[in-house]
Symmetry: C2
Subunit: 716 residues, 2 copies
């Protein structure tokens, strides 16, 4: 990746001098429209066409090469054939350019030779510490009037505004700009990242986070350059500015066969990983491009919805009901209005009005009631935002109700969105609302979706902050276990070693001892307490059950003796050559809930922790949740609460609650282990038993897979 350029990427967004290499006069050529677009958008710097074939381009004096330009270009926009791009980058670099936007195609997307060419471009850009956008991209624009740069091949730009958009697809970028023009959605900046060889969404997030004109950042991504770095970049930005994302692209086939349960979950639940990533970074994921821009319209008002409580004001029942349904679906609440508030509103309304929430004022009311009731609903602490639905009828015109809404708009900080229905074209009225910070929508559902995202974003910004906990652990033991494994070259730790390692990190296992005689086994069982499990201990037997090497539910000394005799016979019969080190006697855990805590290390995401209720819930219902490690206390609790089977841990059918506090701590301890021990590739604690509240957890089985060779975190 080309790592040059400034953090703010000013060389891309506000260059003083732009060279368009490959500018042309030939109709239909990208070089023709792009240079014309730079001129037409009224660029406030100076732009030079570069092309040895033309004396002037679009009436501007053209230069045969970069070296002959009268000024040093700060940014080069490159539209030459792919093969000439590396030399062009060199020329730009020599001329002192700090950035290059490579529109040209014919790189990685066309196969191996193209990929090699792309690598060459990246190398040269890095050498000159240039910011590289593309190749194979649609360009960059900045609507800031002090810049007015349109280095894209889109002729029509949406109006200036505060929404920045980063797209991994050029075509979608084009479509969306056109949509912005049609819907009058105001944009601040736009970048098509193309093949993303240089500047990626992570650098852009940071740069756009610092742009004072950008208040909302939209992303369209098909993959992330690096999930772990996205988390870091996005967390930095979402503290200040909302980031909304559409993530497309279905599960790619796993690159390597997963060796553990958690591994296979992480492969099949790849999209859930993205959900976890976006949730942990405060990024609002939306389901469709339509949602993205509708939500952006609401975010771009800059208003906050400081809680989920929505009040719906309407003069017709149906749209109110539709809005109420959508509000609940989108995680909003429709608070019951306090009696005093209802009493203060009711006198101004017809007797048949429903002073509930939605407040259905009925068709008899006029603009005055809209103003008075909306003001009353938002004045106190009854609601965090309002949806106003109005069907102008004989009692009021569209412009009257708009005036009412805007009067309230100017006296509150709470968001107001609107749906105007009517018998005549109300689009002028809608525009008038939107230009004063009241986004307007055709259908109530669309209005409510964005409000849901707005409330979620506020909840993110004001979430309780918890710090990653670092538990005191037995490092010496963990070091020893891992050193031993490295020495043997084992990739899967023997179970006892896995237990030792996890125990060193504070995960409790059942008490166990190894007996060499039957009397020793009984003594051990007497000490440990019944019921016990008896298991053969042999380095040569990996599937103990298959050789009759496991007996469970041994309730007393006699049963231990019986089981010992039977097992000794059966194991020696089934595995005559196995070295038998003895028989393990282990306390059998009775009662409690089985869960799985696992970890997988992903090349892009780093260590991922997975949690789910054990057995059927994980294996059949796939009821699991993921987080990128390190997992903070609050995230651990969210993990536990977010699975569908979570009520089982709270206690159902007369049972008491399970020890969720101990479970959360176990998740955090696993997180700590996988952050501190990068050589661990995958791990499962499955099952881990969560005992009743106050009694802690006990892991019953542990599996730890090490990286084949020494392996480090994705580079930071």
């Amino acid at each position: 990746m080309a790592d040059g350029g400034s953090v703010e990427l000013d060389e891309l967004f506000q260059p003083r001098c732009v060279a368009v290499i490959g500018a042309s006069n030939r109709p239909g050529k990208v070089g023709t429209s792009l240079f014309r677009n730079v001129l037409q958008a009224g660029f406030q710097g100076v732009t030079y066409p570069v092309n040895p074939s033309w004396k002037s381009v679009s009436g501007v004096r053209c230069y045969p090469n970069i070296a002959s330009l009268p000024d040093a270009p700060e940014l080069g926009v490159v539209i030459v054939p792919a093969a000439q791009v590396p030399a062009t980058i060199d020329e730009l670099g020599r001329a002192g350019a700090r950035g290059a936007v490579v529109i040209s195609a014919g790189f990685r997307e066309v196969g191996e030779a193209g990929a090699a060419l792309e690598a060459d471009v990246v190398r040269r850009a890095a050498q000159y510490r240039m910011s590289l956008v593309g190749p194979n991209c649609f360009g960059v624009f900045n609507t800031d009037p002090s810049v007015s740069l349109n280095a894209t091949f889109s002729e029509n730009l949406p109006p200036p505004g505060n929404i920045a958009f980063v797209s991994q697809s050029g075509a979608l970028g084009a479509g969306i700009l056109q949509y912005g023009v049609a819907q009058r959605i105001g944009f601040s900046r736009f970048v098509s990242v193309g093949n993303r060889a240089g500047v990626d969404e992570n650098r852009l997030l940071t740069a756009l986070g610092r742009d004072p004109r950008t208040k909302v950042i939209l992303l369209y991504v098909e993959s992330l350059a690096n999930g772990r770095k996205f988390l870091e970049a996005a967390r930095g930005v979402t503290e200040e500015k909302p980031v909304l994302v559409v993530k497309s692209g279905r599960t790619p086939a796993g690159e390597r066969a997963a060796k553990s349960h958690t591994g296979s979950l992480a492969q099949s639940g790849r999209d859930q990983l993205y959900d976890a990533l976006f949730e942990q970074s405060g990024v609002q994921r939306v389901n469709s491009l339509g949602d993205l821009f509708r939500s952006a319209k609401i975010f771009s008002t800059g208003l906050r919805m400081e809680g989920p409580r929505l009040v719906v004001l309407t003069n017709s029942g149906g749209p109110g009901i539709v809005a109420a349904d959508a509000a609940i679906r989108n995680g909003l609440e429709l608070p019951v209005l306090a009696p005093e508030l209802r009493a203060s509103i009711a006198p101004g309304l017809p007797s048949i009005a429903a002073v509930q929430n939605p407040v259905d004022m009925t068709a008899d009311v006029g603009a005055r009631q809209y103003r008075e009731v909306l003001a009353a609903l938002l004045a106190g602490d009854a609601a965090d935002g309002a949806l106003v639905i109005a069907t102008p009828t004989g009692t009021m015109t569209g412009s009257e109700v708009v005036t009412s809404i805007l009067a309230v708009r100017s006296s509150t900080e709470k968001p107001i969105v609107a749906c105007l229905f009517g018998l005549t074209d109300l689009s002028e009225d809608a525009r008038s609302l939107e230009s004063h910070g009241v986004p307007a929508f055709t259908f109530p559902e669309e209005a409510v979706e964005g409000l849901g995202a707005l409330a979620r974003y506020h909840a993110w910004r004001t979430r309780p902050r918890t710090e990653v906990r670092s538990f005191p652990v037995d490092r010496a033991t963990a070091d020893a276990v891992l050193a031993r494994a490295r020495a043997t070259g084992a990739s899967v730790l023997p179970e006892y070693a896995a237990r030792e390692l996890l125990a060193a990190y504070g995960i409790r296992f059942p008490e166990v001892g190894v007996s060499r005689t039957v009397d020793e086994a009984v003594r051990l069982a007497d000490r440990i307490g019944y019921p016990v499990v008896l298991k053969v201990a042999s380095p040569d037997i990996s599937h103990k059950t298959e050789v009759g090497g496991v007996a469970v539910g041994l309730a007393d000394a006699a049963s231990v003796r019986d089981a010992w005799a039977r097992m000794d016979r059966s194991v020696r019969g089934a595995a005559p050559t196995a070295r038998i080190q003895g028989f393990e006697v282990e306390r059998q855990i009775v009662g409690g809930k089985e869960v799985l805590i696992g970890m997988q290390r992903d090349p892009g995401f780093g260590p991922i922790v997975v949690f789910g209720l054990g057995g059927i819930y994980v294996e059949v219902l796939r009821d699991v949740t993921f987080r990128l490690a390190p997992v903070r206390p609050l995230s651990a609790r969210h993990m536990v609460e977010s699975v569908k089977a979570a009520p089982l841990l709270r206690g159902v059918r007369g049972e008491g609650p399970s020890d969720v506090a101990a479970l959360c701590e176990a998740i955090e301890r696993v997180s700590q282990l996988c952050v501190e021990r990068p050589e661990i590739l995958e791990m499962d604690l499955n099952p881990l038993i969560v005992r009743p509240a106050g009694e802690g957890i006990v892991a019953v089985d542990a599996r730890v897979v090490l990286a084949p060779t020494s392996r480090s975190e994705p580079s930071a």
Copy 2:
């Protein structure tokens, strides 16, 4: 409900003579705009204004009352004050009118007095066998050029087309007509049903089903007049025409406290009941008003998608990926293209084109490739429909690609939808596509949603038809059980009676016998087979466990003797006055999966059958599914397959499959029982044990609740 009028409702949709009672010249009055709208829409019949205050209205001679009209009106549109409506209906009836559209408000929606007035209006309309629309409605229109009736207060009508729309909300109706105008969505007929006192969605479904100009029927409903009749009406229509619905309105508080588990599930899962109803009637439920109209645009082409296989053709990757994601979400498939097909396509494309599905031809192709490749993709049996995504670039204009798409459109019966993205306004190109049967959308997701619904509708029309099975049952026993219960006035059947009733309908229970002596108990147990359960049998003990009256897991004769002695002591101690009839010996069921089959009778929906996996799955995870009885074999199987825990019945973790065939039959038998025995209000078989394949089912517990008084199905 007013039951007059014709099945086709021609008196509403194509009256030859319309009287507008309450027509006016006063600006802003509904009577003013409504009469003007009738004139302006170019009504092909004759319309008369009726109003004693005016000599002429909108230049047309006005009559003081209905009696003085020169012709008999076939339809009256009523806009007089509420109190005058009953008399107006009388006048219309006496004049021979066959239909009335009551726009006037002031009825049920304003309280009790209004409700009484409404009942009066209904009574009078029924007396004259008039079809009554409203009151409190927005009107009716029919765009058929031989009629051209606009009896609404909307001045702008959408263009003529083949979409009929029935709305339970006037305001939404108004909004949607406006949307239709803006989006050029063609409508055939529109009805705002208002308070739905007379004509309801069920009659309209039937009538619109018979209208040859209507090809798609859209419904917006907040409640259904009668769920059971909706099922019948809709099933009739959906065989021929697609019906799409938005159903809004959250769970109303249950009218009566539910007495059984199934009852409480049916209350809390009310929205799932609607899902079941729509599924059983072939009605496509969509999630939002936006979806409704976008899907309608696709359905209105009249094309069928005869399977779920979608091919996506694009010249840019991003939108293709977005479309692919959306296709999977919407139940469509993206088939892998056969090698021969790929080989036939590839030569015409650039070498870097991805001849997969999506077929990404890359930006280098022109309109010719669009035509050739699209034709090839749809010519054979590779796909059932196509989404064409095009970003016009230097290689082709919007109108060229439109020409290509339309060339293929005319040579295939498969649906084609389009997304055009571009650097310039392509709305004229999109319009051109739409006018020739290729719906166009801004975003790929929107295109794909409607195709999913189209494929689902075809699957419905071509579903395997199964007939309701009628099992031979022991009617005499069932009659006797119910007669006995009626005699005692019991509303909850004693468990033995519930078992007897269900056993008479073929539900198997564990073998059981009553013993009076301990020797008899052992003999019984020896015959039945171990393990057994021993239970005290007493009419005076309802909670057997509490008095120590239940012993489970008795594995041999000695255990039965022990348990008998202990139980005899404990029960006599705890309930000294209880009459002990003996001790039941019952085979204990070991192994198998617990499920629940239940039934609840709903006032509007009639008998509803519920199914879910027992215990946690039903109680905590609410993983249940509903169907309106009678349940056909195919529906029974769908019920079993549709719960999330269904894999457990197929066998997981090395278990074999459960006896799903027997389970389905049990569901159908429960369905038969509740259809044949309307006095049963609620019923639970919980748990019912599904044994391994071939071993059938055994119910362990049964609960049957009878209607307090004699009770019949919702009137047909």
